[in-house]
């Protein structure tokens, strides 16, 4: 017989160690699909590591990947903290990117120190706007936000497609559905010469630290924690659950929108429908691996990014499908979930002995 006994106070080792072990375990599990694909296992792992960390270039690539993941990870972390199940970061990212393109591709022009904040604000606002509908439906009608935010992802992607074939279409793109490029003064400049890693990374890091302080030290953060942990008690004490939810939604959508700005103005330079390979969904994994801690998000985003970059590079070298990366990321989510269980419960095998 297996029994679960709740732990009242899990040790620091469990709290911090479990996500690390979960991630490691997911990497080890990847050996199964690797061997089924007929790849040499140890060399494949080697290629993945060198692909992510082997050179300054690969580290820059990894950091470039991590940038949107930090932002979407923060978007999920803050929402999940308040038990607002925003699964719509993918759509919010595209809306943010589209807003950045709308104002940043030549409609207005100004020096960088104005243009960059402007497109950031526009993107964050557009991302946040995407959650207004779901939050009204949730608080007024009791419609589950999971389904509405998920469905909105598809609606937004079609909307972006429509705009790319219409109002935002680049006349120079020779029929390819993509937007006009972001003007130079709105581009997030690279941090290193001839490398892709850009100012977006700094923005993401600042966002993470700011969010950490916000949640831990401010009245609003206090209320978010209270609502997330026990909405009934928070409501009884006089905290407005609806207002708190709206605040969280704006933060979450805004951060996801920023991820779109960062991608379009930092990495790509223009908007197309393949801007994000699922950063919105991966953000959920990032947040869960980080146990919803904003600082933790930085670390787990680096992990997920290196899995993606490493697997890409390994895939090019030995021809194993790079869907392996998605597989590892999905497995690490499930592993960290199980790991979370182990921090909350002790597991006893067998029956308790009767002492005399």
């Amino acid at each position: 017989m297996i029994r679960f006994e709740p732990r009242t106070n899990p040790s620091a080792f469990l709290v911090y160690g479990v996500p690390v072990m979960a991630a490691a375990f997911a990497i080890i599990l990847a050996a199964i699909p690797l061997s089924l694909a007929g790849a040499p296992i140890l060399p494949a792992y080697g290629l993945m590591i060198s692909g992510a960390f082997g050179s300054l270039f690969s580290i820059s690539e990894m950091l470039t990947r991590a940038t949107p993941l930090i932002l979407t990870g923060l978007a999920a972390a803050i929402a999940f903290r308040a038990k607002l199940w925003n699964i719509g970061a993918e759509g919010q990212l595209y809306m943010g990117a589209m807003a950045a393109v709308a104002v940043g591709s030549g409609v207005i022009d100004a020096p960088s120190y104005i243009m960059i904040p402007v497109i950031m604000l526009a993107g964050a606002a557009a991302g946040a706007m995407m959650l207004i509908g779901p939050i009204i439906m949730k608080t007024r009608l009791g419609v589950d936000e999971v389904v509405t935010t998920l469905l909105l992802n598809f609606i937004v992607l079609l909307f972006v497609q429509m705009m790319l074939e219409g109002a935002l279409k680049d006349p120079m793109s020779m029929g390819w559905p993509q937007s006009e490029p972001i003007i130079d003064s709105a581009i997030l400049p690279p941090l290193l010469e001839r490398m892709r890693v850009h100012l977006g990374l700094i923005i993401a890091l600042i966002s993470a630290f700011a969010l950490a302080i916000f949640v831990k030290r401010t009245v609003w953060g206090f209320e978010i924690r209270a609502v997330g942990e026990n909405a009934a008690a928070a409501k009884f004490s006089g905290i407005s659950v609806t207002k708190t939810m709206v605040l969280v939604a704006m933060l979450s959508g805004g951060l996801a929108g920023l991820a779109g700005v960062s991608e379009v103005a930092g990495t790509r330079g223009y908007l197309a429908t393949d801007l994000s390979p699922g950063y919105g969904y991966a953000g959920i994994v990032v947040a869960m691996l980080a146990r919803l801690s904003p600082i933790g998000v930085i670390i787990s985003a680096l992990f997920v990014a290196s899995v993606f970059v490493g697997a890409d590079s390994m895939s090019r070298a030995i021809g194993v499908s790079n869907y392996l990366a998605d597989l590892i990321v999905a497995m690490s989510l499930l592993c960290v979930l199980i790991g979370g269980f182990l921090t909350r419960f002790k597991i006893h095998f067998g029956r308790q002995k009767s002492a005399g």
């Binding site: 009245v219 206090f222 924690r225 928070a234 006089g238 308790q352």
Partner: protein, 533 residues
């Protein structure tokens, strides 16, 4: 197997259940310490004890929900009357052995009919059809024999609490229970409903059914049982037949120590603090609705609201806590009509609110004790600067509160989930009473607490009354209401009776009013015509 409803031909009482030296520990706590108990056929045994005495744990072991660390449960076979040890930790084994349990919180699926709930699990699960004719016949027989009448074709959510309880008992009898365990069966009933339940149990016992009633109210136990076993602090401290029982000595055995009994001193009430005028709240559901309710609470006065749970107390509490607004009618606080029903505003304006469900509404387990104490006031200048929390101030307040209210906890920074029920209640008292409130809403403030914590709650409420606060005390516990209240009103089906002054209260009449009967006109204290004598 013989049906439980068939009258027993035995005349000598036979041993049916034997609990032998049951011990159960939860960490350092010994919930059951070598408890022995015998139950015979046709016998009603009361298991008496305060909250936390170990009654429920013992019954959970009997029913296989917990495994005892030591000791054994033995049940006589249905055919041979030979005691055999019950497999521990297996509810199915307990069911098979003829042990039926009626929990305090009913275990009924509300979306199914009574019949479905009873039959659930008794038929082979992989069958293409359900055959109900036999089940119906057996249940009709059981119902006519015992007086347990209830419409079994109704979905359970449409039944009254008393009817649900009958379904629960039928569930056990349908499975040929030879031993029926009832956990606090009267907690949700009016005194009259309780009497009719007792009559049914007597009838069933006469047919050979053994019954264990878990209770903490002495009077009820004396009314129905044949034998009484008393638990305290996990130990059995006494056992006697009911006819030899002495009220005083039982009370002493239960409590084990002198508990200071709070005394209410006469006091002239002062100015009006809160008044409700013709309040109607219609939420479609009786437990959340009020109909044309008028009430008045004054300084230095405890106004008790008596009633069986689910009669609109929740709606009344929500309203006074600022969590809901009336559909019609007005609320005046300090003579000013309330326009904005907002819990935050209410708390800031000097209304102390003690929630009914302290675990669910009263605290946030993963936040610290200090944060839980300050939660109503974090927006005030005292605890934040420019939106940033002043943790020193929050901790300082918590340290004071912990000392003043004797909250037992590892410290202000410990998560609140580590606290026991009594200490959570102290934490809530510290949160709301520290600010010398003018009005206190206490909703079931001592339910589920041990005697010590209970008397502490009572002392604090009386202290606040002395200090001039108005207290609205919503309770299902008549003893508590009669000890503390200056005035009592009864709530039934969303209607609130006229207020009765403490001196004029007749217990049985109160019971009738709780069941919905109108108070005699001449006894009613008509506030409008001049207030109490």
């Amino acid at each position: 197997m013989s049906s439980a409803a068939t009258p027993s031909t035995e005349t000598s009482p036979q041993l049916l259940l034997k609990l032998a030296a049951i011990t159960k520990r939860f960490g350092p706590l010994i919930a059951n310490d070598a408890i022995d108990l015998d139950v015979h056929r046709g016998e009603i045994v009361a298991l008496l004890g305060e909250n936390g005495a170990g009654k429920t744990t013992l019954m959970n072991i009997l029913f296989g929900h917990y495994v005892a660390d030591e000791g054994a449960v033995m049940v006589a076979g249905a055919d041979d009357n030979i005691l055999a040890t019950l497999e521990p930790g297996a509810p199915q084994a307990a069911l098979d052995a003829g042990i039926g349990m009626v929990h305090q919180h009913f275990t009924l699926a509300e979306n199914l009919t009574g019949l479905d709930n009873i039959v659930l699990g008794t038929e082979p699960i992989f069958r293409l059809r359900r055959d109900r004719t036999k089940a119906r016949a057996k249940l009709d027989h059981l119902m006519s024999g015992s007086g347990l009448n209830v419409d079994l074709n109704q979905p359970v959510h449409k039944l009254t609490v008393g009817e649900k309880q009958r379904v629960e008992i039928l569930k056990a009898l349908y499975r040929d229970a030879r031993l029926l365990v009832l956990d606090e069966p009267t907690a949700v009933l009016t005194p009259q409903e309780a009497d009719s339940l007792f009559a049914i149990l007597r009838k069933l016992a006469a047919t050979g059914l053994a019954v264990i009633i878990i209770a903490h109210k002495l009077a009820e136990v004396l009314a129905v049982s044949h034998r009484i076993a008393i638990l305290r602090g996990g130990k059995k401290v006494g056992e006697m037949t009911t006819d030899q029982a002495d009220r005083r000595s039982i009370a002493e055995l239960m409590v084990g120590r002198d508990v200071p009994i709070s005394k209410r001193r006469e006091r002239t009430p002062g100015a009006e603090v809160i008044s409700l005028h013709n309040i109607t709240i219609d939420r479609g559901d009786a437990r959340r609705s009020l109909h044309n309710v008028s009430l008045l609470a004054r300084e230095g006065e405890i106004l008790g609201i008596a009633g069986v749970s689910g009669n609109g107390q929740a709606a009344l509490a929500q309203l006074i806590a600022g969590l809901d607004r009336p559909d019609s009618g007005t609320v005046e606080i300090f003579g000013e009509p309330v326009t904005k029903f907002d819990a935050h505003q209410f708390a800031q304006n000097g209304i102390a609110r003690i929630p009914e469900d302290r675990h669910h509404d009263g605290m946030i387990g993963s936040m610290t004790v200090a944060e839980n104490i300050a939660i109503e006031d974090v927006r005030s200048r005292d605890y934040q600067k420019f939106g940033f929390l002043d943790f020193d101030a929050i901790r300082k307040r918590a340290e004071h509160a912990i000392a003043d209210y004797d909250v037992r906890c590892p410290g202000p920074d410990a998560p609140a989930r580590l606290l026991s029920g009594g200490n959570i209640q102290k934490l809530i008292l510290a949160r709301v009473l520290e600010k010398s409130p003018k009005l206190i809403l206490a909703n079931q403030p001592s339910r589920g607490l041990d005697v010590g914590a209970q008397s502490e709650v009572h002392r604090r409420l009386l202290e606040a009354r002395e200090g001039g606060a108005a207290v609205i005390l919503i309770s299902e516990d008549l003893d508590e209401l009669l000890t503390l209240s200056d005035q009592i009103a009864v709530i039934h089906a969303g209607h609130v009776s006229p207020v009765i002054a403490a001196g004029d209260i007749d217990r049985s009449e109160l019971g009738l009013m709780m069941a919905g009967q109108k108070k005699n006109e001449h006894n009613a204290d008509t506030r409008a015509a001049g207030g109490p004598a």
